[in-house]
Every structure is written in structure tokens, then in C-alpha cells.
């Protein structure tokens, strides 16, 4: 089969659902959105041709509810399901179920998904092929004693990881025997509450490595290419917040070797569709295989902007059975791209998630600016899901211009009513060490630990004047329109005025 789908269901929400729906529209494919109770007015529904309710707001009852999603696909006649990222995207049971139900799963085949989904097994397998890996325990465990025995034998520092994990949840750095027991206990508790599985394992901890990953595309017959690297070293609590491509530390030789290694991992695991092979790179530019992310990643746009290849289009074509149409030697990196993840959280108050209604939002624009966004003025941000609102991405011919572009866009991006990390991101992008490319996974702890928004008196003065004027005029409007709705708001009347001209 190599004819494109007519209709697909997107088993996700927010910016990624919209991103995928746009790609489908471009290819003339109809889309089915799914939504939970609290998402009945969510933005992603407006980008779909059909929408199906799949359950209550808790993810387990809706976006993780395999039966309801499969039923929605049958009900609407969707031929395929795109899982986006998160939720069911790396769930091999879901991928298998789709196959059984004769629905195409837009992602890797279930066998590859299962293999790379087990972080320990995949590390042991690729190590057999002489791919450098980070040494660690050879099995997951729920035994604290077993962890401590390994730590005493292997030595510190170590990093505790959850077997089921992702997104940095449950991760702990352990530097000595004294802190080992409590860190392991805490990690297991977090793994249990987050993933329902307390299994953990220990790995050698590299001090402040860089996180560099390679995007791959593989068809269903084993043909594969890589789309070069993404540098994702700017992480807060093991979660990426800024990603870019290319990486400043890769020379052509290292880039070629990492790309070839990623393709080797794809071949070993029988991988298909889009995926990412993650590596850590130490200060001597040695790289170590970390894991495979078997999905479309949050940070995929930076690769799209530098290679010109639409990854969602590619996923759909591969899933529809098309043979890979790309040749490695024709794939080039052009210019530089940076992505910032915009979250509903308050960096000034320990990054507490910020729920509520977006009272006002205005997207930035200009040359080289892309905004993959899941919200709009009036959107309600709930506590049920990941607090990502959107991704702001810039492209420019060189890194310096790219940094300036995204900093300028971050500086002209009002979101009011909820708190966001926009100002925090701008302060990272404009940090002198970031500008120089001196970044690694320790950047946030080292330079941003005590970050607070700077208070500027000139801004405060203008804010007070603006608030007074707004309050006065707005109250006047409220009072007047209450009695006589045909009186237009003073805003509309003031609107005639333009800089440099008096009408």
C-alpha cells in the first residue's frame, strides 16, 4: 500500500495536535480531533474536520484511554492514528492494538517501539555493536539494597533513572553513599506516582555533558537517513527548554560519526518512521548512546527549518507505505534554528504551574519566526496536562542572527492572565555564555539558579500610567455601554490615531 490516507485521527491536544492537523490539510487528508471534558472548547478542535469526545479530563480517562480512542477512529472511519508526543506515542500496546484493529499507527512498528522503549535492554543491545554507552546497572530493580550494592561497587557520581520514565521525572543525581538511600527512595516514589511503576536503575553520571541528538527517518523496508543533530543542552530539571540546530561543538567529522551511529542504532532495532537517537557528549567530545525517542519530538521544528524537510509529512508518507525518497547526500543543513518552549509556569516562584484564562495574547512575528501554538486569547489553561503552551522557533543564516531574532520575538510576546517563562527564556538566550555557545546540561544550575525578573523603574512608571488610562477609559466604556449599547467603546474611537498623522 502506498496511497495516502484520506482521514486520520490525532490522539493528542494542544500545539502538537494543531501542528499535525496543518500537515494533514496541506496533504489533503481529513482530520479527526479527540477531546476530553475540559478541552471541549480547546483550540485544536477548530483545526480538525471532525471532533470526538473521548472521556473525562484526567488523561487516563481520555487521551490515555486506548479503547475510547480506537472507538473514535472506527466511528469516524479514520484509517490511521497519529499519537503526537507524550500520551500514547511510545506505548507499544497501543501501536499493536492499532495494527489489530486495522488502523495504521503513525510511528515505529511495535517491535522496534518495545525494544527501544526498554532503556536498559536497548543500551545492552547497542553496546554489543561497539556503540559507546554510559555504563550502568544491567537490569531495573525495585530493591534499594541492589541499587546501593551497585553504587558501592561502581562508585559515584551516579544518576538514578526510572525504568518507565521520561521528561526527567524521578531522576536523581547521587554523589555519595550518604545521600544514596534517600535519593533512591524518593526516585522510586516519584516513579510510582508518575508512571505507576517504581522500577529504577543507576547509570554513571557524566558531569555537565552536552545533550546532542540525531533525527532519523526510516521507511518500512529498512531504508534510513539522518537529518543531523539538535543540541538540547539547555535543560531545567532534566527537561529541555531550548533546542537548536546545528550544535556549535560538532565538527564535520563528529557530525558524520554521530549520524552514522544513529543509523546503526536504527538498523539494529529495526526502526521505522521518525525517531531520535539521543547522545551525551562529554567535554572531550566523546559521545555515548543514551536512548531512542520513538516519536515525533517537541523540538522537531528546528530540524525542519535547517533541512527544509517537513517531518510530519514524512511520517505520514512513510506510514502510508511509501519507500524513502530521500538520499543522505542530498540532505543539507542550511542556516541555524533555535526553539524556545513556552510554558505556563512562574519562574519567579519556583516554576509553579500557572493555570487560568489567557486574558490577552499576541503572537510575535517577522522574518524567520515560526510559532507552533496551542492557545489563543480566551484559552483556559487547566492543571490536567503538560503546561506547554507553544513553541517559538527562529531561523537565520547564522547562529548570532538567529539568537537576536528569537530574543526580539520573545521581547514582543505578551501573554496576560497566566504566568509564563517567556522573560526567563529571553534572559537565557541573551546570556553572554549562551551567545558564545558555552552551553551544557549544567547551564541552568550555574547561571540561572537565582533568576528573578529585573525590576525596571521606567517600565513601572509607564505601566502605572497605562493602567490608569485603561482603567478610566474602560470603566467609562462599561458605564456607557450598559445604558446605551450603540455608543462605541472609547477604544474604537481612539483607534483612529496613527503615529505621524492626525486624522
Amino acid at each position: 500500500m502506498s496511497s495516502m490516507f484520506n482521514k486520520i485521527l490525532i490522539a493528542n491536544r494542544g500545539e502538537i495536535a494543531i501542528r499535525i492537523m496543518r500537515a494533514c490539510r496541506e496533504l489533503g487528508i481529513e482530520t479527526v480531533a479527540v477531546y476530553s471534558s475540559i478541552d471541549k472548547n480547546a483550540l485544536h478542535l477548530r483545526f480538525a474536520d471532525e471532533a470526538v469526545y473521548i472521556g473525562e479530563s484526567e488523561p487516563q480517562k481520555s487521551y490515555l484511554n486506548i479503547d475510547n480512542i480506537i472507538a473514535a477512529a472506527h466511528q469516524t472511519g479514520a484509517q490511521a492514528i497519529h499519537p503526537g508526543y507524550g500520551f500514547l506515542s511510545e506505548n507499544s500496546l497501543f501501536a499493536e492494538r492499532c495494527l489489530q484493529e486495522n488502523i495504521a499507527f503513525i510511528g515505529p512498528n511495535p517491535e522496534a517501539l518495545r525494544l527501544v522503549g526498554d532503556k536498559i535492554v536497548s543500551r545492552e543491545i547497542v553496546a554489543q555493536y561497539n556503540i559507546p554507552v554510559i555504563p550502568g546497572m544491567e537490569n531495573k530493580t525495585t530493591s534499594i539494597d541492589e541499587c546501593i550494592a551497585f553504587a558501592e561497587k561502581y562508585g559515584y557520581p551516579l544518576i538514578l533513572k526510572t525504568s518507565a520514565g521520561g521528561g526527567g521525572k524521578g531522576m536523581r543525581i547521587i554523589r555519595s553513599k550518604a545521600e544514596a538511600k534517600s535519593a533512591i527512595e524518593a526516585g522510586m516514589r516519584e516513579a510510582q506516582t508518575t508512571f505507576g511503576d517504581p522500577s529504577v536503575y543507576l547509570e554513571k553520571y557524566l558531569e555537565q555533558p552536552r545533550h546532542v541528538e540525531i533525527q532519523i527517518l526510516a521507511d518500512n523496508s529498512g531504508n534510513a537517513v539522518h537529518l543531523y543533530e539538535r543540541e538540547c543542552s539547555i535543560q531545567r530539571r532534566h527537561q529541555k527548554i531550548i533546542e537548536e540546530s546545528p550544535s556549535v561543538i560538532l565538527d564535520s567529522d563528529l557530525r558524520r560519526r554521530m549520524g552514522e551511529t544513529a543509523l546503526k542504532v536504527a538498523a539494529i532495532s529495526g526502526y521505522s518512521n521518525a525517531g531520535t537517537v539521543e547522545f551525551l557528549v562529554d567535554s572531550d567530545n566523546n559521545f555515548y548512546f543514551l536512548e531512542v525517542n520513538a516519536r515525533l519530538q517537541v523540538e522537531h521544528p528546528v530540524t525542519e527549518l535547517v533541512t527544509g524537510i517537513d517531518l510530519v509529512h514524512a511520517q505520514l508518507r512513510i506510514a502510508a507505505g511509501e519507500k524513502l525518497w530521500l538520499n543522505q547526500e542530498n540532505i543539507r543543513q542550511n542556516g541555524h534554528a533555535i526553539e524556545c518552549r513556552i510554558y505556563a509556569e512562574d519562574p519567579a516562584r519556583n516554576f509553579l504551574p500557572s493555570a487560568g484564562k489567557i486574558l490577552f495574547m499576541q503572537e510575535p512575528g517577522g522574518p524567520g519566526i515560526r510559532h507552533d501554538c496551542g492557545v489563543i486569547t480566551g484559552s483556559e489553561i487547566s492543571v490536567y496536562y503538560d503546561p506547554i503552551l507553544s513553541k517559538l522557533i527562529s531561523w537565520a543564516p547564522d547562529r548570532e542572527t538567529c539568537c537576536k531574532r528569537i530574543a526580539t520575538a520573545l521581547n514582543d510576546f505578551p501573554i496576560l492572565g497566566i504566568r509564563t517563562n517567556i522573560e526567563y527564556l529571553r534572559d537565557i538566550i541573551t546570556h553572554p555564555e549562551f551567545s558564545k555557545g558555552n552551553i551544557n546540561t549544567g547551564f541552568i544550575d550555574r547561571y540561572m539558579a537565582d533568576w528573578q525578573p529585573k525590576s525596571e523603574s521606567a517600565v513601572i512608571d509607564r505601566a502605572v500610567i497605562a493602567a490608569g488610562l485603561y482603567g478610566g477609559l474602560n470603566d467609562a466604556r462599561k458605564m456607557n455601554t450598559a445604558g446605551s449599547p450603540e455608543i462605541p467603546s472609547p477604544w474604537e474611537m481612539l483607534g483612529d490615531w496613527r503615529i505621524g498623522s492626525r486624522k
Binding site: 486574558l359 490577552f360 509607564r462 502605572v464 485603561y470 478610566g472 445604558g483 492626525r502
Partner: protein
Amino acid sequence: MDFEFVVDGKIKRLSLNSGTLDGFYDAVYDGRPVKFRASSFQSNSLTLILDGRVTTAHIAESDGRIFVYISGKVVELGVPKSTQNEYSKEMVEYGAQDKISAPMPGKIVKILVEIGETVKPKQPLIVLESMKMENEIKSTIDGVVKAIKFNSGDLVGPGQTIIELSRLTE
């Protein structure tokens, strides 16, 4: 109109004294006289020209907190306890219903009533021109015109009382 806001724990005072038809305002901010020009291109957003510098502010209000976005920063303003509802206090005076005031800077085109005249809700009282548009200001109560403070052709600032009514009670 007088305002008090709390920013970073400090009280900031602003008196908006007068505004003119083409958007010039006189105000006293933190004890200093300031002159600025203001315009708005969309609801929630306004542009100030103050000391020659252009500032665009985006503003939203929720639960008595006011959020103002300027130059990449969000400033949060509160209303002090002692003068809580400064907005609404102004509004009461403004919207006291027996005091008919200018909702925006403008020129009085016509006063449609005379002293002693009985008025009904929704009856037009004043025609005010602002930004080349004429707007009727209407009564919201049953009342009798007690005082008329301006004449046709006068310029009025936001909040200035133009007509006073005596409420007719049942």
C-alpha cells in the same frame, strides 16, 4: 481621575487631569506633572508617547489585579487596601447615574436638555464628539436636570461632570 496602584509593595499615585480630543493628556504621576499622548489600536492595548518615547502597553485585569505588558516585561499592579476599588469608586462617582460625565476626552457638540427638564432612561442628553465621531450620552435614570456645567463647543476631559440630575423616586 485619581488612581492608586501598588507595584512591588510601593504605592504609586496617578491623577489624570485632562485629555484633549487628539489624545494629549495632562497628569500628575508620583508628584511630577507629566504630559503624554495616547492612542489605542485594539482593545487591551494602548500606545503612549511620553518624553518622546513610544511605549506600547497590553493590559488585562482579573480579580482586582492589573497586568501590564511593556517591553517584554509583565508588571502586576494591585489596588491598595485602603483605597480598594479605586476603579469602582471612580466608577460610582462617574456612574452615579445622577452625574453625567464624559467617558472620554471630547468636544461637546450639543446639550439636548434644559435645566428643569424631566428625563427618562435611555434619553439622549449630550452629543459628544471624540475622534471625529459623534456619540450620544444617555440618561440611565428617571430624573430632572439640576445643573448643566458646560456649553456646546466646550472641551471636556474624561470623568468631568457635564450634567447633574436629581433622581425621581417612585
